[in-house]
Amino acid sequence: MSCWNPRAEEMSLEEIQRLQFKLLKTQVYRLYSFSEFYHKRMKEANVHPDDINSLEDIRKLPFMYKKDLRDNYPNRLFVGGQDELVRYHVSSGTTGKPTVVGYTQRDLDNWAESVARAMTSIGLGRHDTIQVSYGYGLFTGGLGAHYGAERIGATVIPASTGNTERQVELIKDLNVTAICCTPSYFLHIAETAEKMGISIEKDTKLRTAVLGAEPWTEKMRKRIKDSTGVNAYDIYGTSELSGPMFTECTEMNGMHIWGDIAYVEIIDPETGEPLGPGERGEMVITMLQKEALPIVRYKTGDITAYEDSPCPCGRNHLRIERLSGRVDDMLIIRGINVFPSQVEYTLMTIPELGEHFQIVVDRKGVLDTMMVRVELKPSAFSDKLSDLIKLKKNAEYVLKNSLNVAAEVELLEPGSLARFEGKAKRVVDNRRD
């Protein structure tokens, strides 16, 4: 494997965990001493830095929430003086106040280091020309990818978003080999190229795309590969962590989270209990080296699962699977956690059903009911009622099997559900009164 930082990337799992414990201990002492917020939180949780004597002891520390960032707007969570700060980014909250994140020079270095390792792990290097088509500015995407790409010595085109025809021209004329952008913008660029009579596969050198900041799917990865010949890689990171930081390696089997940078826990979002490898739950992240805006046991709200077996690429840093939704989307039906993404995956296994669906939750008496309304695929339609009834029963059967809760399936005409730009509103919960 080609590594950006062999010493860090070639560590064994044991070495990683030993280092993680050391970094955690240091960070906890630092925060207890210098962060008013963490000091207070730890006191409330009745935990002292001396109580942290193993990596698992991290569970004694209280969680940190998105709300904490908003409540402490703009910078009351920052540790260290103004002089240490070298940059702010600001993310616009979907509701109410924005959150402000700050960086010391070391924070920026670690961020770029993380992206540099990630880009190297998908085969990018000094020979590459990387077009960064994430928005530059207050959003972390543009600059995050930019500094990572510069660090590995690639040639960077800071294209930002917009003026898509020119983006296509640049890709062609400057022999761009890789692009960083959102999945939807990539599709838009591909469409625009096609309209301009430019085949990405035949007329350009673009072979790699690093896509993030929006949910996307394996299906899209395949579609991108088939239509443009481009290998698309998933990247993860939010502004609280620094920005986009972690990608899949060439194995495409999960995103490596560099253990010396972040410690990942997956928990049951309801009970807070830790979950094991392969079990889906909420990701809780601790940034082990962050200085200006410390992040300890931050509940990301993202649903994923981890895998800590060695990756065929040779790295032992654990991997998280593609995010499968948000905790806020989680439904509790008759006491069972149901994620709309699970419903989506399950429906995708039935070829007669389309990709558009809606979940309607209701309460009859004391019993929760779930109905999954899903569009029939026009091509799968037969003229027999019995086939349709069979299809409905089969969908109900597989849903019950994968969700552990019964769902009634309603077959809909193709196109009858509203289409959404971006995030689809999949759930109608009528239980709230």
Binding site: D383, K384, E410, E413
Partner: protein, 142 residues
């Protein structure tokens, strides 16, 4: 001339306004319904119809995103006497032909039975042999 007639089948959600929407599409296409039936089950239905210009209706409906297909059916003119239906069933049964479904309509004061069978060509043959009058596509429209 063929006695095999194109029937269109459309998947319809069983809720108010859905059928009307389809009727509107047909109307806009200046299509005449010659015969139709609605079969219902568990929250959805199937609209089956013999129309004057099935190919263009199917094309338009597909464009609009409907789940629609065409099937070959046969149209048998019922004898104006009791037991006509039973006799048809007997003829088909003896020939080991399964009837998937059927529906009737009235044309010029005589009843016509639309049948979807598992072997349409054979059905035409045995029914004709048994003296039944099968309509052709052309005389359906007339």
């Amino acid at each position: 001339m063929s006695c095999l007639i194109d029937q269109i089948s459309v998947f319809v959600e069983n809720r108010p306004g859905k059928l009307a929407a389809i009727a509107e599409v047909m109307e806009a296409q200046m299509v005449d319904f010659l015969a139709f039936s609605i079969a219902e089950a568990d929250g959805f239905g199937l609209l089956r119809a013999v129309v004057s210009d099935p190919q263009s209706v199917v094309a338009v409906m597909k464009d609009l995103g409907y789940a629609v297909i065409t099937n070959k059916v046969i149209a048998v003119k019922m004898k104006d006497q009791p037991g006509g239906l039973k006799e048809i069933a007997n003829v088909l049964g003896t020939a080991q032909i399964n009837v998937e479904y059927g529906y009737a309509y009235t044309k010029n004061d005589s009843a016509v039975l639309i049948l979807r069978v598992d072997d349409a060509e054979k059905s035409v043959e045995v029914l004709k042999k048994a003296g039944f009058n099968l309509l052709e596509e052309e005389n359906l429209k007339a």
